[in-house]
């Protein structure tokens, strides 16, 4: 006979307010196998826990049922309590009478009846609980960081500084990301390149960091501690060991295409280095536009290269590597403005996005930092900025706030006035959001010291009239419609997730929200982890954020990865599947449904009537199994059971509730 102890928690009034604890205790006393029943206001408190420990010894309990909150909250706590009293932790069963009962019901009588039923089920299940011993899995002492913008750079540096190997993979030819495109940064106005490039150089020279630029992660398999990753190193068409970065090839290449780094404002060559401070400072041939690759003619770059580094025969290379943890830092895009015809983006050269404005005012940009109207190369006098183009717009854009636009627009107003004291900025806004250290002060400076005129309202339409842009808007504070003859209009386009974010998430087995930003494990308490153990997030791939937040998050993600890598082994959850070889028919339906590739086939030699026959069986790799239970549902003879959730246990619960 079992010796089961039931402990009922009040959770203050959380449970006791809706559930009659006394009645529950009385009912539990009569349940089969129950030899002790107790209650306490806060079972998870030290007093509650010591009461459990003492009772286990005094009453010689061999199973525990804790009727309290969700097992997600305190299952681990009570398992530790049991272990401390010498009881195998997997002999503890939780009856969730808070989230599943007291919180969702109002009538005390009915809630009490339900709480009793839930405890009866837990007691019935507990009777079947077996002692389980957690195994260990090894941890590969290397991290993978995907995306080398400021988030990826920071995370890679932090992990590498802790002494672990890091592979940093970047899709484009250079690391640096969005931050490399920016001019100054708010609210301090320090030069973006000046603070970023030293970090880029650190990454390139760090003994523990391997840089894979112009490379993409193609496949991710395995599990925490043991990810198997395939990386495609795209053919750069340049032998990196030979190239000296002299740049002759760039000058001589006859093909020009839009420069991605400069937002298409100027051209680059088909063989190119994205920007002067690129790391690595080695060109790449864009095979989709190169004349050699399109027509088999040209080869000018090969002829002029003094180092003989140009290699048209180079092929993509596939690397297969193992990692303990992964940090995902793939960044963001800006919203395409096709749906916002009223702003005329793409229809007039003086209507630009904020990112294009960054390039135009940047000393290393296409105009050498001289802000000009692209229509006539003149310096603009009146510049209109429009906030929330596609942000907070559930009809045609994104319902969320892009968070950084208020601040960078204030920054643009300040930079403009500093550079061109005669210019005038007009800013249309819905709300100015300045939550952040020194942010509000910075915004006020734009208004008070730099003369930016803010209109509380938004723009209806921009009408190009002659060489001016007639901006029609509203100022709701004065209840007047506003017309401005502008020379330039700058649109703060919404931040959005990368186009392929959902595919990346699927590859990694993590979640995305409705806007395809990656989802953190808990919005408050686990902000840089994902629901997949060993995969961490940082930067704008998780949601709009500015540089300080991104860097902080990257450091946090790195810390999480370091915690993981600093362990040689991980404790494996013993609640995994097991095959009863006596019953298994070898149909292998389980292999088909297993999402973790944890089940394989094996053959067993077996003597039948004196002859040896070979039987086909399923076998579970306990390190790979995540305990999802799909196989147990697929198994026709019922040969696979999930430990701690066996068919016997589940049926006992069902019977206890229904019979």
């Amino acid at each position: 006979m079992r010796r089961i102890g039931v402990f009922v928690c009040w959770c203050g009034t959380n449970i006791a307010g809706t559930v009659d604890i006394e009645a529950v205790v009385e009912a539990a006393k009569k349940m089969p196998g129950v030899v002790y029943t107790g209650e306490y206001k806060y079972m998870c408190s030290e007093i509650g826990q010591s009461m459990i420990r003492d009772t286990i010894k005094k009453e010689q309990l061999d199973r525990l049922v804790i009727a309290s909150c969700s097992p997600r909250m305190h299952e681990a706590t009570f398992r530790r309590t049991a272990a401390a009293a010498g009881l195998n932790p997997y002999l503890v069963e939780i009856a969730n009478i808070r989230e599943h009962c007291s919180w969702v019901h109002k009538e005390k009588e009915k809630a009490t009846t339900k709480a009793i039923a839930l405890i009866r089920a837990a007691v019935a299940k507990a009777a079947y609980n077996r002692e389980l011993v957690a195994g260990e899995i090894p941890v590969e002492q290397r991290a993978l960081v995907i995306g080398a913008g400021i988030a990826g750079i920071q995370a890679a540096l932090d992990i590498a500084d802790a002494g672990f190997e890091v592979d940093l993979v970047e899709r484009t030819p250079s690391i640096g990301g969005r931050m490399a495109q920016l001019d100054k940064t708010f609210p301090t106005l320090d030069c973006s390149a000046c603070i970023l490039t030293p970090k880029m150089v650190d990454v390139a020279s760090h003994p523990h960091i391997n840089l894979y630029t112009y490379s993409e992660v193609e496949k991710v398999e395995g599990y925490v501690g043991n990810f198997d990753v395939t990386i495609r190193k795209k053919a750069r068409s340049i032998d990196m060991s030979r190239c000296t970065g002299c740049g002759v090839c760039l000058e001589k290449c006859p093909i020009k295409v839009d420069s991605e780094f400069n937002e298409g404002l100027i051209k680059r060559k088909a063989i190119y280095i994205p920007f002067p401070q690129a790391v690595p400072n080695v060109p790449v041939i864009d095979r989709t536009s190169c004349r050699w690759f399109k027509k088999g003619k040209c080869a000018v770059c090969k002829k002029v290269c003094p180092a003989d580094a140009v290699d048209y025969e180079q092929a993509d290379e596939l690397l297969e590597k193992k990692y303990g943890g992964i940090v995902l830092t793939t960044g963001f895009d800006t919203l395409k403005l096709d749906e916002f015809g009223e702003f005329g983006y793409g229809k007039h050269p003086d209507i630009i996005t904020s990112l294009e404005f960054e390039r135009l005012i940047n000393a290393s940009g296409p105009t050498g930092g001289k802000l000009v109207r692209l229509s006539n190369q003149e310096i603009p006098q009146n510049i209109v900025f429009i906030h929330c183009v596609g942000s907070r717009d559930k009809a045609r854009g994104k319902p969320y706030c892009s968070k950084i636009c208020c601040m960078y627009t204030a920054k643009h107003a300040i930079l403009l006035k500093e550079k061109y004291p005669h210019s005038q900025t007009y800013i249309f806004y819905i709300d100015v959001r300045t939550g952040g250290k020194e942010f509000e002060e910075f915004h006020r400076r734009a208004v008070e010291e730099y003369g930016a005129v803010y209109f509380r309202g938004i723009v209806g339409k921009v009408f190009p009239e002659g060489d001016k842009l007639l901006v029609q808007g509203v100022d709701s504070l004065s209840s007047r419609t506003i017309e401005i003859e502008a020379d330039m209009v700058v649109l703060a386009a919404a931040m959005q997730a990368r186009d392929d974010a959902a595919e990346v998430a699927r590859m990694l087995g993590i979640g995305v929200d409705t806007h395809h930003f990656f989802v953190e494990a808990h919005p408050k308490l686990r902000p840089v982890e994902t629901h997949s153990a060993g995969i961490y997030l940082a930067g704008a791939c998780q949601g709009p954020k500015d540089i300080p937040e991104t860097v902080a998050q990257a450091g946090a993600a790195a810390a999480k990865a370091i915690v993981l890598l600093s362990k040689k082994t991980l404790i494996a959850d013993p609640c995994v599947s097991e095959v009863n070889e006596e019953i298994c028919t070898g149909c292998l339906a389980c292999i088909q449904v297993c999402p973790y590739k944890a089940i394989t086939e094996k053959t067993l030699d077996q003597k039948v009537h004196g002859r040896v026959v070979q039987r086909l069986l399923a076998q579970v790799n306990e390190a790979l199994c995540q305990g999802c239970g799909s196989c147990t549902a697929a198994c026709r003879p019922g040969a696979i059971n999930l430990k701690s959730f066996s068919n016997d246990q589940i049926l006992a619960e069902v019977d206890a509730v229904c019979l």
């Binding site: 096709d338 749906e339 009223e342 229809k347 009408f463 009239e465």
Partner: protein, 275 residues
Amino acid sequence: MRFSYYPGCTLKTTATELERSALKAAKALGIELVEQKEWQCCGAVFPLVRDEIAAFLSSIRSLAAARDAGEKLVTICAACHHVIKRTNHLIKTDTEVREKVNGYLQLETSYLGEGSVIHYLEMLRDELGFDELAQKIKQPLTGRKIAAYYGCLLLRPAAIMAFDNAENPRIIEDFLFALGATAVYYPYRTECCGVYLSLNNTQIATDMVEKIVSSAFSYGAEALVDACPLCHYNLLELQKKTPQGKPLLPVYYFTELLEEALGLKEQTAVRKDRK
């Protein structure tokens, strides 16, 4: 190619030129437009009040008749198109209206919104195809600079009308291209002309018309083309009331240009005195 055709009251009276040219061009293109036998006035504005179903009945009768004939319903007047298209959407999505209307009409087969109504321009684009149309042009309008005026009723609300991108439409420009003409883009081509106000707020409507016409003119247009009898009237008549006192640009129905390009009539007049 055969369609049921809904003319509407205006095409039979003040906008006879629109209907005449449209039908003549269709015939030349091998498109059969069969006028519905018992069409009634569409009601002219789409009613937002759901508790009076009377205003929906005419549209539903025509849509049901086209369905029974196994044909799409073609409209030419932008206002009729607006009303019929929105009514069709309403009956598809609003159960209460659907039940009331069918309860009243007692059709042999209830009408649930399964029919479809298309504008003449959509017919040219989606059924015939502008490439096919370009093949049939006999007198291309080469060198003619024409500005499209879209008005409100075909474009908005965009999700229901599903006619074109409401802020950046191209159907009329593509049509002009097929005719061999040069389309003039100007920022007022989708702005309202204010015709609903020309009865009791003439000055506002006149200002609106002046903006549209002078913008098209400043972008180099020689003529305006439209697809709506109401806009057409407004653009023509109110130009006379602008400070200049006389029209800046001639205004044509798109079908008149089609007729000309198909070689069915003499060249339409344009302002030649400009550049």
